[in-house]
């Protein structure tokens, strides 16, 4: 720490800090445009010029380091004159049309021109006009307003990792451009809107919808991935709660989670809230025709039908599934209801199919370290994780860390288009991947002088390189991603990875899909543990078991099985054949009208209050922003009243707080140690099968985001096609662009084939969650391909 003087006051500041950092630290504001605390220093806007004693020229506060006994004046006549003249220069070419600019009222240039500018300009000429830049469906540009601060360029390069924007031309003609016109590919592109200090980059979906001063800001938690990014919902209408609408979403700063970034999915999914397929009133199916019903009628029908089925078949006939946007309170009530009805069959792990080690796993998945720890690692090892599309915000920590010396290794079932370079990577189909992982563990064990538990094949050159990297690193995190969790080998992967973590002294964690997958497992929405974490001696049926041993009745809470589960075809068939399917859902679909018997409209995340637990195990609560659309109700109220209709005891909750209190008493957080079974032999691997890799594209991951129209426009051709590598294509006699029939059992779809060498041998990538792949087959299992005749 050193002493410096700012405006006559002495402060202790960190040595090596810049003047602006030191001033910010002590709440002294210095105007700035190009400076952003999360981006590299550019020093190009010159707005932050301040006077430093003994310096002839005014100094830029952002790029001038403090030195002992430095004397700084941020508001002296010299400093103010410098700032005023920079502001004058900025405004000679900036259009003064704030009333028609979407940024008006939330514009840094507007604010600073009032604070530091002149009310009159000396400039009399014509202003510069710049062509609009087409950046795709999410960002609207108006480049005439650009003040060339380069924040968007630096974001895209340093945090987005893609360098999609740059400067072309020079002098007064300098402009931000993609050079060759194309849409932005980044999953984080919306953050450029936030960093843009003017109205050059604005959000297309919420453009001209309202003025920032008319909006009410509500704290929220992002509802699409397990990080729990903090954000604000901005809603219209100050007073009238009934007519409030969500108008836009912006990030809320949380240094330990999302810093100040959110993904495009979190930002633009709100468009789905007003989709035409919103279920607005309870619906009941009688003899194949759907009719609207009152809540009372619908709930009593639920109670009657469910009650009579249970009366005649026992509680065991009920199966319950919860989707990951179900809050902790709702999940708690759901499992309580299920168990009160005498059923043990409840699951929330929609995208897993290997549960053989569930008894030994942590009660709910964990990252194994804190999110912020990812900033300071030596080596990060991803296993089956498309972190770029599934957990985009994490990449804002990884991309800049690469410069600091982080090396990332990966073993993946396909070569994902990461935004950061990989030091080493193994790409192989699920079986080969398992063999290489076992080889890696055996190799590391041997190097460490431990006796290898597993006998494995010879490691490939890349596997050896990964072993070397892991053995030579100190701080390591191993992360098992959503794609590995979905595999039929998941438990084998998990066992080997945890052995590997122990061998190299790394942290080991999982990155499951969904906002509250963690919280739902924590509150007992799993067949093998109760809400209090007690393991059941005889577990109920998991999601796969529930479909293999069909139940008579099902309750589905906030999911669309045709698009949300791994074994879609089998699930749809089972639901079709069930005597009763009750769906608590915000949206209806044609498929749901087919298998459901009663549809109860519940509130999506912005319309309900509740809690999500993120992958660090932090519980974050949020309040409803608007009242639910139509007759929809928060799911916790629906479950509570349904329990009353079913005449169950202990469901007399008067408020959400009462549920929350009960939950916090029942569900004790305990730091369980997981002791996974040690894998001694590899499961028998089937050769010569074509395996279907079935990842979910970012914008198809859940019911809400699937209905967000602007996000849908970002889907690229390769994200809606079947992909195989050139070798597989030629063995099957298929070519790029041809139509193919993909078949799994009775299930069959037609899809365009594209040749893409990012896919390993013996694999075909057919994305899940698409409208064409809805209800199709089983993810991560064998598939056959043949040329379509059509």
């Amino acid at each position: 720490m050193i002493d410096i003087q700012i405006n006559g006051q002495t402060y202790q500041v960190l040595e090596g800090a810049s003047i602006i950092e030191a001033a910010d630290e002590h709440g002294i504001y210095i105007p700035r445009f190009c400076y952003h605390k999360k981006l590299s220093v550019a020093a190009n806007c010159r707005m932050c010029l301040v006077e430093v004693a003994n310096m002839k020229k005014p100094m830029p506060a952002c790029s001038t380091p403090v030195s002992p006994d430095m004397v700084i004046f941020t508001q002296s006549e010299k400093a103010l004159e410098a700032q005023r003249s920079v502001m004058e220069f900025l405004l000679i070419n900036h259009p003064l049309d704030c009333p028609v600019c979407d940024q008006g009222g939330a514009c840094e240039l507007q604010d600073l021109s009032i604070g530091f500018g002149c009310s009159e300009s000396d400039f009399g000429g014509d202003k510069r006009a710049v062509d609009k830049l087409e950046l795709g469906p999410l960002l609207q540009t108006y480049m005439t307003r650009c003040i060339q601060c380069t924040r968007c360029i630096r974001f895209s390069r340093e945090l987005g990792g893609l360098s999609e924007l740059g400067m072309i031309d020079r002098g007064g003609g300098e402009k931000v451009s993609t050079y060759v016109e194309r849409d932005l590919q980044s999953e984080l592109s919306g953050n450029m809107i936030d960093v843009c200090p003017v109205g050059a980059l604005t959000a297309k979906p919420s453009r001209f919808a309202g003025r920032s001063w008319e909006y009410v800001e509500h704290e929220g938690v992002a509802a699409h991935d397990c990080l729990g990014s903090n954000m604000y919902w901005h809603s219209s209408q100050h007073d009238n709660v009934e007519t409030r609408e969500v108008m836009r979403v912006v990030p809320k700063e949380n240094e330990s989670i999302n810093e100040c970034w959110i993904s495009d999915r979190d930002r633009f999914s709100f468009e789905g809230l007003t989709h035409e397929s919103r279920l607005l009133s309870p619906m009941v199916k009688h003899n194949g025709t759907w009719k609207e019903a009152s809540w009372e009628a619908a709930l009593s029908e639920c109670a009657d039908k469910l009650g009579s089925l249970i009366d005649s078949n026992g509680g065991d006939c009920l199966g319950v599934l919860a989707g990951p946007q179900t809050t902790m309170e709702e999940g708690f009530l759901l499992q309580k209801l299920t168990r009160a009805l005498g059923s043990k069959h409840i699951d929330s792990r929609l995208r897993e199919q290997d549960f053989s080690d569930q008894a030994c796993r942590l009660p709910s998945p964990r990252l194994g370290c804190q999110i912020a720890d990812l900033d300071s690692l030596d080596t990060l090892f991803f296993f089956g994780c498309d972190v770029r599309t599934q957990h985009p915000v994490l990449t804002t920590r990884i991309n800049p860390s690469i410069e600091e010396g982080l090396s990332v290794c990966a073993m993946n079932p396909m070569d994902y288009a990461y935004t950061f370079p990989l030091t080493e990577q193994v790409v192989a189909g699920p079986s080969a991947l398992l063999q290489q992982l076992a080889a890696l563990v055996a190799l590391v064990a041997k190097e460490k002088g431990e006796s290898a538990v597993i006998s494995a094949e010879k490691p490939s050159a890349q596997t050896q390189a990964i072993a070397k990297r892991l053995l030579n690193s100190e701080k390591i995190a191993l992360l098992m991603g959503e794609h590995a969790l979905a595999s039929t080998h998941a438990s084998a992967f998990r066992s080997l990875l945890s052995q590997l973590a122990t061998l190299v002294g790394a942290s080991f964690g999982e990155l499951p899909y969904g906002a509250n997958t963690v919280g739902l497992q924590y509150v007992g929405c799993v067949p093998h543990r109760q809400a209090d974490g007690m393991a059941l001696a005889e577990p109920g049926l998991d999601i796969v078991g529930m479909m293999e041993q069909p139940r008579r009745a099902y309750v589905l809470c906030q999911l669309e099985p045709e698009s949300d589960v791994l074994q879609a075809a089998k699930t749809l068939k089972t639901l079709d054949e069930a005597a009763l399917v009750i769906c608590l859902t915000a949206f209806e679909s044609d498929a749901m009208r087919q298998y459901a018997d009663i549809m109860l409209p519940v509130a999506p995340p912005s319309e309900t209050s509740g809690q999500f637990m993120n992958i660090e195990g932090s519980i974050q609560s949020f309040q409803a922003v608007t009242v639910p659309h139509g007759d929809a109700r928060p799911a916790w109220k629906v479950l509570r009243v349904l329990a009353n209709f079913l005449k169950l005891d202990h469901f007399e909750y008067r408020s959400l707080e009462a549920v929350r209190n009960d939950l916090s008493v029942v569900c004790e957080s305990e730091d369980s140690v997981c002791e996974l079974p040690i894998l001694k032999t590899l499961p028998s691997l089937k050769e010569n099968e074509l395996i279907r890799l079935a990842p979910w594209p970012m914008v198809r991951s859940d019911a809400l985001v699937r209905r967000a129209s602007s996000l849908q426009k970002t889907l690229r051709a390769e994200q809606v096609s079947a992909l195989v590598n050139a070798a597989v294509a030629s063995t099957h006699g298929l070519s790029d662009g041809s139509q193919v029939k993909a078949r799994q059992g009775d299930s069959e779809i037609e899809i365009t084939l594209r040749v893409d060498d990012r896919i390993p041998d013996q694999c075909v990538m057919i994305p899940s969650g698409l409208s064409i792949s809805a209800g199709f087959g089983s993810a991560e299992q064998a598939v056959t391909l043949e040329k379509s005749n059509a």
């Binding site: 010159r46 010029l49 410098a82 220069f89 000396d122 000429g125 300098e174």
Partner: protein, 437 residues
């Protein structure tokens, strides 16, 4: 003392520097360079293992100052290069051959006609500062100079002066020629480094300074072509000889590029401190016997000096500064009475508008504003208040930018307004063409 340092391979009479004579003499070859004693200094250094500190001490003694424009003492600059620390990676010497200042054409003659002397200078610089790699970065338009430098580098490598184990010693130095894509701003030393790294050549803010964080983040020393090319001769003939040629504070000789309304425009390498009148005489005097009106003494970014003041000025760093300008790169633009100073100022401001890289607000926006005001004045569309506006805008650019390009826009404006304000006023009052042609 005409043409004895950087141009020593060339005929003393500059009127014979036409393409035909030069191609006959092939002054750029190793043979021609050796004939004037070339590479003897380098051989001696290698042979005697001269301590690097001795070389730097000699340079300090010679009072050699940077010839690119700023005039920073070269020996001092070389001593700033941090010592090689184990495991710290390369250090670099970078020769700034991106000569783009209007009115300046001295370095291209060194590059095309005496490239070996530059190579020898770079080798000595690398040796003295402990760098193993040196780059000679030329402007993109230097096609012939680039090819000559490449040929010279090949010859020098074959002769064992460059590369691994130079002349059988354990000294290894790699030299490379490279070219920018041609933009005035590439001549700014930090922009030059960005250009060489393959980035957009925007100047970098300082600190950090290149001596600590330069090319690819490594310690780097950047010198002008003429500065580096002077080094072998200084070491050969002695620091005292060189220092004695100039004045007390401005040692040695300097190349002046005389252009404009003179009879014999060209490069003259003369002792610093020579009166301007002598240089004008060497250049054959004023064209058509016209009267000298004004001189821009150090490349276009320096303030203009009226002819009568200039005739009393001695050409050294202090002398020119006393007359209200700077010696800069030594590009002397000579203007006679037929010159409209408003037109000159307007043309120069157009150059600076066109060459601004655009990153800093004052320069990006101000350079265009200055040009527009100049146009309005020249075309008789302006008001009297525009003159003060012009001065104010220029002042607002000066000292507010990352690099000194801001000064390069502002100083000429201030110079012209200081000495020739009446011409600007006349344009506004009477319309254009205040000067009879």
């Amino acid at each position: 003392m005409l043409n004895e340092v950087c141009y020593r391979v060339m005929p003393k009479d500059i009127s014979s520097w036409d393409d035909e004579t030069l191609s006959k003499e092939k002054t750029w070859t190793l043979e021609a360079y050796r004939a004037v004693g070339g590479y003897q200094v380098w051989e001696k250094i290698i042979r005697e293992k001269t301590p690097p500190m001795d070389i730097i001490a000699q340079l300090k003694q010679s009072v050699l100052r940077g010839r690119g424009g700023a005039g920073f003492p070269t020996g001092l600059k070389w001593s700033f290069m941090p010592p090689q620390l184990p495991g710290k990676g390369e250090k670099y010497v970078l020769c700034n051959s991106d000569e783009s200042e209007p009115g300046t054409c001295k370095d291209r003659f060194i590059l095309s006609n005496n490239p070996h002397q530059l190579l020898e200078g770079m080798l000595i610089a690398c040796y003295a500062m402990g760098a193993k790699v040196g780059y000679n970065l030329m402007r993109g338009e230097f096609w012939l100079p680039f090819n000559r430098c490449e040929e010279a580098l090949r010859e020098a490598t074959e002769a064992g002066y460059v590369g691994a184990n130079i002349l059988g010693s354990d000294v290894s130095i790699a030299l490379h020629n490279a070219a920018t894509l041609g933009a005035y701003i590439c001549g700014e030393e930090t922009a030059l480094m960005n250009a060489l790294e393959g980035k957009r050549p925007n100047p970098r803010f300082k600190p950090p300074f290149p001596a600590n964080f330069g090319l690819w983040g490594q310690p780097t020393t950047i010198n002008n072509t003429e500065t580096i090319a002077s080094v072998p001769v200084i070491l050969q003939r002695g620091a005292d000889w060189f220092a004695g040629a100039g004045t007390e504070k401005s040692g040695g000789t300097k190349i002046f590029c005389v252009s404009g309304h003179v009879n014999k425009p060209g490069n003259y390498e003369i002792a610093l401190g020579t009166p301007f009148s002598e240089l004008l005489e060497m250049a054959g005097g004023m064209r058509n016997g016209a009267k000298l009106k004004a001189v821009i003494p150090g490349g276009s970014s320096m303030p203009v000096i009226p002819g009568d003041v200039m005739m009393k000025t001695n050409l050294d760093y202090e002398g020119v500064m006393q007359s209200g300008s700077m010696l800069g790169s030594g590009g002397m633009i000579i203007m006679d009475e037929s010159t409209c100073m408003v037109a000159v100022a307007r043309r120069l401001s157009r150059f600076y508008m066109h060459e601004s890289c655009g990153q800093c607000t004052p320069c990006r926006e101000g350079s265009g504003w200055v040009y527009r005001l100049m146009c309005a004045i020249e075309e008789g569309r302006a008001e009297m208040s525009d003159i003060d506006r012009l001065r104010r805008v220029a002042k607002q650019i000066e000292g507010r930018t990352i690099c000194v390009f801001g000064e390069a826009i502002a100083w000429p404006v201030e110079g012209f307004l200081k000495h020739f304000r009446h011409e600007f006023e006349a344009c506004i009052k009477q319309g254009p063409r205040t000067v009879k042609r």
